[in-house]
């Protein structure tokens, strides 16, 4: 509507005076009514439906527009807000959610959409449905000139002409035509086409044209709703009974309005409502707001309310039952309504929408006794602390929490029966859950809820007992700022000087207290076996690992943190490597799947600061000089790829080093597509490799067979049963002589000792290497085990054996006997040479003939 300028010109000429016209703007535009004090003014206007007089519509219909006219409305879909986290809530133990079996048993309806509508896709679809509905409504009433412009675009720039036309059909459905060719039925699609917008940006633009906002759908604000008296009349309801949601799978595309629950202001007027919609059997609630006498969604910024907040004011001494889930509160009110009605003197039911607690009007709780009923998720339970703080901060008389769940929807199975896959604590929770539709006397139930309510401290203790909340012991650990006692300084023998000759290398050149080593290999390469045999070797003090001896002193205790192996397999591994008997004395193993784990093992993840802290104290408490972390992928998950997480873990490792520990990080090699392992590169962040003093890369059996390792002996061992592995030193600062060398080993099935096969240099060619005999050197014997020395004294000649003889003799010792064929295999020689070696050993008295002929011929170890 504009002034009639022709008339004004006539008047001005006639009177020779300026012609003046005045009008108030906004009469035709549905600008949002302010929901603050300004509303007091706007309510004086005439009712919205009678505001529009469209006498000028016919003449304006002929007017044409260009896209420029509408360009200013183009908008972008808002970026996602960061979800509210319950970081300030009670610290949760383990994962942030109950087990999937527990959640499945309760059913999706009970465990999702607790604070409103969780699924942003559905929320966007609801908003889209509202926009289309509102656009058609505004267009039909002629109240939005911009929509009219949108359907009357006529541009002519040579080949780039554009013509848009459209109208509403009898069913109030839009039908538009673009350039006389393309047709469509939605406003958003039209905007997509003419402005080349993405679907979401088109929705944002349409919302802009209609003065609506996605945030208005569910983002609650603390703006107070001023009193809209309107003579006490009810607002006009402009809320769709059904929402046809576009873009969802067929059959699931219609949300039905089930219930409207009004929120009353203090003058008894309706200031908003909770709308309960049902989509595929699952309910969700959305806020509706009253603006300009109309109850609607999406147009005005919704104010955060509590259900029945006016009753809380009117009955200041009534106890309040506060449901965390609005739907449970509504279901309970329905039950009350069906039976005997609602006496707010006895108790008041309340709940709220949204996750942002800071915007809610908490002062309504002043002086009330509050019993809180949590929703059945761990995150919701953790938020009890925040609720306690807000409610007690508002001077409530008392705050208690019901230790259980009330369910508004039918769970997916009978909760009294045993549900497979849930923990004992979850089983207890499921059995205690109450289905509201099975309760005959709702007031009795409320009495029980009030009676059973725990104080906050008791509730936290109850949650800790069930393993929902973290036990406080960890918190006190964290609270201590003093360093726990570091280990006593390591024996200097454990930090030997640099070794430039292979003969000088011992076990502690590789596993050196105060530094960290990386042991990496492809899946199945034998990382765990190599690491466990190293643990065994450290504990025994003087035996070989894999080819390098200990120094014969008590090097300290060993901790083994296994995050991957199933518990039975883990126990079998310990047995195989002789560690079971040492458990609890010298060996301290933590298996993720084991029983009776210490409390800090809830997450069993190195990314969890509390786990790291707990483990740190555990290691020092048990005087562990060595710790194997098997393996980083299992202990860090996806975070193993993140530099920041790697840095955090390495900082922690450094702390252990400073306390005198040797840390061994067992890690996966980086694998290309197709599972081919990279020889040098580790999976995830390379920080782990860069900072390690020793990097051992295991060459797996698959790699041996694929890479055609030169040594025939290695290849044939790889084809046999048992584990064949190449121990390649990619880096070895304390023993540079080891760098780029590979030691090929074989571990027969079930055996605990490695057999040496060959050693190769950087170029893959075999190098002469004689592992020291598997006996303690004399100097060590005196220091460690005199009895072992006396046992070995009879084998002094062993030291004088040739390399071939030694190999054959070792084989005979490990197998009890050796035949010509065995000797051939060991030496890769022909029959004649094998027989010569066997005879030489027999002549030296180390082997004796078994007095059998032909194929049965063999030599036994002479005892």
């Amino acid at each position: 509507m504009t002034f009639d300028y022709k008339e004004m010109v006539k008047e001005a000429i006639k009177t020779s005076q300026p012609a003046t016209r005045v009008r108030q703007l906004g009469c035709h535009d549905k600008t949002p009514a302010s929901v603050s004090q300004m509303t007091l003014d706007t309510t004086a206007r005439v009712a919205p439906l009678s505001r529009c007089h469209h006498s000028s519509q016919a003449s304006l219909a002929q007017q044409t527009y260009t896209r420029t006219h509408l360009k200013r409305f183009i908008d972008k879909w808002p970026a996602r807000d960061q979800a509210n986290k319950a970081e300030d809530g009670i610290a949760l133990a383990g994962k942030d959610s109950f087990s999937s079996a527990f959640t499945a048993a309760l059913g999706m309806a009970n465990t999702t959409n607790i604070c409103g509508l969780d699924d942003v896709l559905i929320k966007a679809a609801v908003f889209e449905a509202l926009l289309e509905r509102e656009a058609s409504c505004q267009f039909a009433s002629g109240s939005n000139a911009n929509l009219r412009a949108l359907l009357n675009i006529k541009e002519s720039h040579g080949r780039e002409s554009m013509t848009v036309s459209g109208e509403l059909g009898p069913d109030n459905e839009l039908r538009w035509t673009l350039n006389l060719r393309t047709t469509g039925t939605t406003w958003a699609r039209l905007l997509c086409m003419i402005f080349n917008l993405s679907r979401m940006d088109a929705l944002a633009t349409l919302a802009n044209i209609l003065s609506m906002s996605f945030d208005n759908l569910s983002k609650l604000s603390s703006d107070r709703h001023a009193v809209e008296l309107k003579g006490g009349s009810r607002p006009i309801e402009d809320v769709p009974d059904s929402l046809h949601l576009p873009g969802l799978p067929a059959g699931s595309a219609c949300a039905e309005l089930m219930e409207i629950r009004y929120i009353y202001g203090n003058a008894g007027q309706i200031i908003g409502a909770i709308l309960r919609y049902r989509l595929n059997g699952n309910d969700f609630c959305l806020p509706a707001t009253v603006g300009r006498g109309v109850l609607c969604m999406g147009k005005y910024k919704p104010t955060a309310h509590f259900l029945n907040q006016h009753l809380m004011d009117q009955h200041p001494f009534a106890p309040v039952i506060f449901f965390q889930d609005m739907r449970t509160a509504l279901a309970f009110e329905r039950m009350l309504g069906e039976t005997q009605g609602y006496d707010p003197e006895e108790f008041i039911i309340t709940a709220h929408l949204g996750t942002d607690l800071s915007v809610l009007p908490w002062n309504y709780f002043h002086g009330h006794e509050v019993v809180f009923v949590p929703a059945p998720t761990k995150v919701c339970m953790a938020m009890v602390k925040l609720y306690r703080d807000y409610i007690m901060g508002a001077w409530a008389q008392d705050f208690r929490i019901y230790p259980g769940f009330l369910l508004h929807s039918k769970p997916s199975c009978d909760l009294k029966e045993h549900v497979t896959g849930v923990t004992d604590a979850e089983d207890e929770l499921l059995r205690g859950a109450v289905r509201l539709d099975t309760v005959e006397r709702p007031t009795w139930l409320m009495e029980q809820v009030a009676k059973k309510g725990f104080s906050y401290d008791d509730f936290v203790a109850w949650g800790q007992k069930l393993g929902i909340f973290k036990a406080p012991t960890i918190a006190t650990h964290l609270g201590t700022t003093t360093q726990p006692h570091a280990l006593a300084p390591a024996n200097p023998a454990l930090t030997p000087e640099r070794a430039y000759n292979l003969a000088d290398v011992n076990l502690y050149h590789i596993l050196r207290p105060g530094s960290y080593a990386v042991l990496m290999g492809a899946k199945g390469a034998g990382k765990t076996q190599v690491a466990l045999s190293a643990s065994h070797s450290i504990i025994k003090g003087d035996i070989m690992w894999p080819l390098f001896r200990g120094v014969g002193i008590n090097a300290g205790n060993v901790a083994y943190i296994d995050a991957e192996t199933p518990h039975d397999e883990y126990c079998a591994n310990l047995e195989q490597h002789g560690l079971t008997t040492e458990t609890g004395h010298r060996f301290f193993g933590l298996s993720r799947f084991g029983d009776d784990l210490p409390e800090f093992c809830n997450t069993f993840s190195l990314t969890d600061a509390q786990f790291r802290e707990g483990l740190f104290h555990y290691l020092l408490e048990h005087k562990c000089r060595f710790v194997f972390l098997d393996n980083l992928t299992a202990l860090m998950g996806d975070a193993v790829h993140q530099g920041k997480a790697a840095q955090e873990v390495l900082d922690w490792v450094e702390k252990l080093q400073q306390c005198g520990l040797c840390v061994v990080l067992v890690h996966h090699k980086f694998e290309h597509e197709g599972g081919i392992a990279h020889s040098d590169k580790a999976r995830g962040s390379q920080l782990f490799i860069i900072r390690a003093r020793t990097v051992i890369a295991l060459v797996s059996r698959t790699e041996i067979l694929r890479e055609a390792v030169e040594s025939e002996k290695v290849r044939s061992a790889a084809a046999d049963d048992g584990l064949t592995v190449g121990v390649r030193f990619n880096a070895s600062k304390p023993a540079p002589v080891l760098e780029k060398r590979t030691f090929w080993l074989h571990l027969p099935l079930g055996a605990s000792e490695w057999q040496f096969l060959a050693a190769t240099g950087a170029d893959g060619t075999e190098i002469p290497f004689l592992p020291p005999a598997d006996e303690p050197a004399e100097s060590m014997v005196s220091a460690y085990d005199a009895s072992a020395a006396s046992e070995n004294a009879g084998e002094a000649e062993h030291c004088e054996l040739s390399e071939e003889e030694r190999k054959v003799y070792e084989y005979a010792k490990s197998h009890g006997e050796v035949g010509t064929k065995d000797a051939k295999t060991q030496l890769s020689y022909g029959d004649t040479r094998a027989r010569e070696v066997l005879q030489a050993l027999a002549e030296k008295g180390l082997l004796v003939h078994n007095n059998k002929n032909g194929r049965a011929t063999a030599y036994l170890v002479n005892k």
């Binding site: 002034f3 300028y5 012609a19 016209r21 009008r23 703007l25 004090q37 001023a226 003058a267």
Partner: protein, 80 residues
């Protein structure tokens, strides 16, 4: 009277309420302002549709946009 008794009576300064009532984004134009300017533009567009013989009789036109949006249009004829 009613509003005075209400415990929802806001104590916030009026200026803040105006700023927060309409728009979440301070960088974006308030929708009331935008619509008012849009109306003003429509007025100018409408005036320019006058036939040239009428326009020849106009000295100048004054538009004034007051808040809350009230548009005043004053047409000054040419002195003959």
């Amino acid at each position: 009277m009613e509003s005075a008794m209400s415990n929802e009576k806001s104590t916030e300064p009026l200026g803040k309420a105006i700023a927060s009532a309409q728009s979440y984004d301070a960088k974006k134009m308030d929708s009331d302002t935008r619509d008012a300017i849009s109306s003003l533009r429509e007025e100018m567009h409408e005036m320019l549709q006058l036939p040239s013989e009428d326009l020849a009789k106009v000295d100048y036109i004054e538009w004034k946009l007051d808040w809350k949006p009230v548009l005043t249009s004053r047409l000054y004829p040419k002195k003959i």
